[in-house]
């Protein structure tokens, strides 16, 4: 089951990368960054699958968490038009890099809870900020037609869901030992669902871009 769930979440990341890269030059900056996020996920998942000799999978996993956090914070930086929201993204990025450098030495091959918890918390805060701006701006159109609504809903749902898991990861590794695989399977399927919803948002965005391209012709 862990095997299938792993491939399911890899497939999800691949779909995000594909949908993001189609007509990438015509897409908005946040969508371009999201495409890079998908590609980054696929890249690291493939590297971990290859089981390179001398490279601990948890090391790659921890590096992936760093890259994921930085790419997603860049995504929010490009998404927000408000100056202080952009500054929050920047500050989060700096804090995260510093924290990573503080927490990781000596723990590279361990499943690190603090860096994952921080990542989840930062993404949840940024997603909440997006919804705050959405309420303030109050567009008159149906917001379910906005691709970014779906992408942000997916982010909020997924990272809020994994926040408690990340917070208690050290404890769970020590307590559950082999049973952690079950929990990780559930987490992988959850991530696959997250990827599907993000892909739906990207697909909606692609449709809008194609329609605009046809109109301009």
């Amino acid at each position: 089951m862990l095997f299938y769930s792993n491939y399911a979440q890899q497939l999800g990341s691949l779909i995000i990368a594909l949908l993001g890269f189609i007509l990438i030059s015509k897409r908005s900056k946040p969508v371009q960054v999201l495409a890079v996020y998908g590609l980054n996920s696929v890249f690291f998942q493939v590297i971990i699958n290859f089981n390179i000799k001398g490279v601990h999978p948890n090391l790659m996993g921890n590096l992936y968490v760093l890259m994921e956090a930085l790419i997603l914070l860049s995504f929010f930086y490009t998404l927000f038009s408000n100056a202080w929201a952009k500054k929050i993204g920047l500050v989060f990025g700096v804090i995260y890099v510093i924290s990573f450098c503080l927490f990781m030495p000596g723990h590279w091959t361990q499943f690190s809870s603090p860096i994952r918890t921080m990542r989840d918390l930062m993404i949840v805060v940024c997603a909440l900020l997006y919804f705050y701006f959405l309420i303030v701006e109050m567009p008159t159109n149906e917001i379910t037609r906005y691709p970014m609504f779906w992408i942000m809903a997916a982010f909020l749902f997924y990272f809020a869901g994994t926040f408690v898991l990340s917070l208690s990861l050290d404890f769970l590794v020590n307590v559950l030992k082999d049973d952690l695989a079950l929990l990780w399977t559930a987490r992988n399927f959850f991530r696959f669902f997250f990827c599907l919803v993000v892909s739906y948002g990207l697909w909606m965005d692609l449709r809008l871009v194609k329609a605009k391209t046809l109109l301009n012709k």
Partner: protein
């Protein structure tokens, strides 16, 4: 072991709680936005209704004023001119027949001008005889006055519109014909009424030089001096659509489409 699984259970509850919070927030944003959008639409509709009522009141007030001035001109100035004509004829008994003729001609000219202005301001026939007859009368007056024939055809339809509607339609026809006479350099102007089950169509077409008429993209702002926004306002009050098209081979066709109620 039990204690560990109790903690695990609490963690599961915590995760479920976070997920529930996330879902609640998303649903809240969704429904709040929907409600605000509905509220905004309601307010826009109220404002649009208010604007329409204000415009209607303005138009009615304008027409009342025109009617008053028209009546004053016809009944007041017209009669005074007749009296003036009689007085001048009486006083100028010593004048030559040619001079008398000239004086009479000038007085007649002034009287006719006053009658024309009075008719243009508010045609009395509209209330008495209806739209079709009044438009016919307008066409024959314009044809007699100028060099361009203005023809009217109603393809055998019977119009039954209320007074306000007829007045607004008449004003649109009047303004469109005046525009064609002043600017189109046309040799012919045609007015046509047609009707089907759903619409009444009024078209005013000429064979002139045409003009850069408004489109949904350009709007009305680039065209000035033709009273087009006044035409559009009147069409909006009627709940009708006003369109401008290129006539083949040349000229313009202004088409007013009224829904049949």
């Amino acid at each position: 072991m039990d204690a560990n699984y109790q903690v695990f259970f609490l963690l599961a509850i915590g995760t479920a709680g976070m997920l529930l919070l996330a879902v609640t927030l998303i649903l809240f944003v969704l429904f709040y936005q929907k409600k605000m959008a509905q509220e905004q639409l309601r307010r826009q509709k109220l404002e649009a209704d208010y604007q329409e009522k204000m415009m209607m009141a303005q138009v009615i007030s304008q027409e009342k004023e025109r009617s008053r001035v028209s009546k004053d001109l016809h009944d007041g100035v017209g009669v005074m001119l007749q009296v003036l004509s009689n007085t001048v004829m009486t006083v100028a008994t010593g004048a030559s027949p040619e001079d008398k003729k000239e004086i009479q001609h000038h007085v007649n000219e002034i009287t006719e001008t006053v009658r024309r202005i009075s008719f243009d301001l508010m045609p009395a026939d509209l209330e008495k005889f209806g739209l079709a007859k009044t438009v016919g009368e307008l066409c024959s007056r314009l044809s007699k006055r100028g060099t361009i024939p203005v023809t009217f055809n109603q393809s055998g339809i019977q119009l039954s519109l209320d007074q306000n509607t007829e007045l607004l339609v008449y004003r649109i026809i009047q303004e469109s014909v005046n525009n064609a006479l002043r600017h189109a350099q046309a040799s012919e102007i045609k007015i046509l009424f047609t009707r089907n089950e759903q619409h009444i169509k009024v078209s005013i077409s000429d064979n002139g030089i045409g003009f850069d008429f408004p489109t949904p993209e350009k709007g009305l702002t680039h065209v000035t001096g033709l009273g087009l926004s006044s035409l559009q306002n009147r069409a909006n009050l009627l709940g009708a659509t006003l369109s401008f098209e290129k006539n083949i081979p040349s000229g313009t066709q202004v088409e007013l489409t009224l829904p049949v109620l």
